[in-house]
Symmetry: C2
Subunit: 272 residues, 2 copies
């Protein structure tokens, strides 16, 4: 059995009454583990805290942090998936006020992405699946992920390492499992995620790094025409770091100097 804990105890099953199963009533975090350490853990916990606040789920964050650290030390290396749900529920949507949130930790090996993804860059598949606008859930990494499941089912070929997702109005939002950045005239641009999308931990880290290193950065609404005019494009997440984007459909970009600079900064964070 691969390493797996439910509420702090070794287990690989959970109650059929869990509201995470019934309604997707909960959140998850996918955390890189190296040398027994959960990387960027504070940012993962901050996003979880924001979700808990937004959905009225009282989370014991110190307990979650302790469990994550202890689990990671047993894993050594790999990807740790943390799921937090509202726990068991009765029939009906009403969230119980005495709900006991459930923690699930699962270990998996480091994903075997081709080395070329980070070096030569990737091509994105232009997904037809559009993200619905739901400001109440935007930014959160909640368990309602059917849009991503449908979008990821759109392509099977290995020519596309990621998909590009737009919202129902055509705005460019993110990758299926990544956030997206453009560089134009030395400015770092990333889609505003107040209507939809997942506000990734690596995205937050990059915006903070940009501020520390005086790279101008902005969150704003972006269209396909902005992509067309971009000097550099890349996708990022907290597991693989940064992949330069070489192209999507008929658009192509070189792998540029600012992408390379950010990649080297991020390697310092992830290659411990």
């Amino acid at each position: 059995m691969t390493l797996c804990w439910v509420d702090g105890v070794a287990a690989d099953s959970l109650s059929v009454k869990d509201r995470g199963l019934a309604y997707g009533d909960g959140f998850f975090e996918t955390i890189l583990v190296k040398s027994g350490q959960p990387l960027l853990l504070q940012r993962h916990l901050e996003r979880l805290a924001l979700g808990g606040k937004r959905l009225g789920l009282r989370l014991d964050l110190p307990l979650i942090e302790r469990e994550c650290r202890s689990f990671a030390s047993q894993m050594g290396q790999g990807v740790m998936k943390l799921i937090v749900t509202r726990g068991d529920g009765l029939r009906g949507y009403a969230p119980g006020h005495d709900a006991q949130p459930r923690r699930i930790l699962q270990a998996s090996p480091l994903p075997a992405y081709p080395q070329g993804n980070a070096e030569q860059g990737v091509r994105l598949y232009a997904c037809q699946t559009r993200l619905a606008e739901q400001p109440l859930l935007a930014g959160l990494k909640h368990l309602n992920r059917l849009e991503q499941v449908i979008a990821r089912g759109e392509w099977q070929d290995s020519d596309h390492a990621e998909g590009l997702m737009r919202d129902t109005c055509g705005r460019v939002i993110e990758g299926v499992f990544s956030n997206l950045f453009l560089i134009k005239g030395g400015v770092l641009l990333t889609p505003d995620l107040r209507r939809c999308g997942v506000a990734g931990v690596m995205r937050a880290e990059l915006l903070a790094l940009a501020e520390q290193t005086s790279i101008p950065a902005r969150e704003l609404d972006l269209q396909m025409s902005d992509l067309q005019k971009a000097d550099e494009v890349f996708v990022c997440n907290s597991v693989y770091g940064i992949w330069p984007v070489r192209g999507v459909e008929r658009l192509n970009w070189p792998v540029g100097p600012l992408t390379r600079k950010l990649q080297s900064l991020v390697r310092g964070l992830l290659d411990i």
Copy 2:
């Protein structure tokens, strides 16, 4: 232990790897059971089949039907919840082509709704939570239900038996756990659900009953101003049947003759 089956076997837990938990990748049906019979089962299975087709989930419907009938006969009376998920998954959104869908059946007692709900009618709480427009998922009873969880958390008082949900453009769509009908000039009107909402089994049954009894009926986009002009309003689902709606916010309606006629037809279906 209450009656509960996982994949046809008595069990009350499931694998933490289930994609229903990870992504809400599946569907559910809430089925009324009386005298050991699952009521309106064909319509529940039809909706499930539509969902499976839309999300590329190969369902063994004859097996599901057999399990539902067998489970219902053991239950005798109550509410049977069927959850069907894409089964266990690896890390990542990509839906596996060899996925083995999982069936979960849970029994619960008949809900204790006040008798007055069906007799004198109910008031609806006007939810602030708006339904996002996602045509790819509209109509399906999938497991991504955070909008309903948030909406149902908006009111606690017992003056409101249900909530009224609108979409992000303000169109009137449904209740939190019901569908909505208006009657205007003898015509049965119900919101078009091609952008969002759950196409309920009782809603389908009522549209069929209307056709059989020559009551004109239409599915269309409805605004709050249409509610204001309605002669009668009611909500429905496959467990409680029909509740006349007496009011929402400052709007009020009488319990009218067509609502009473439909209630008596539906009682013939549910009170076996």
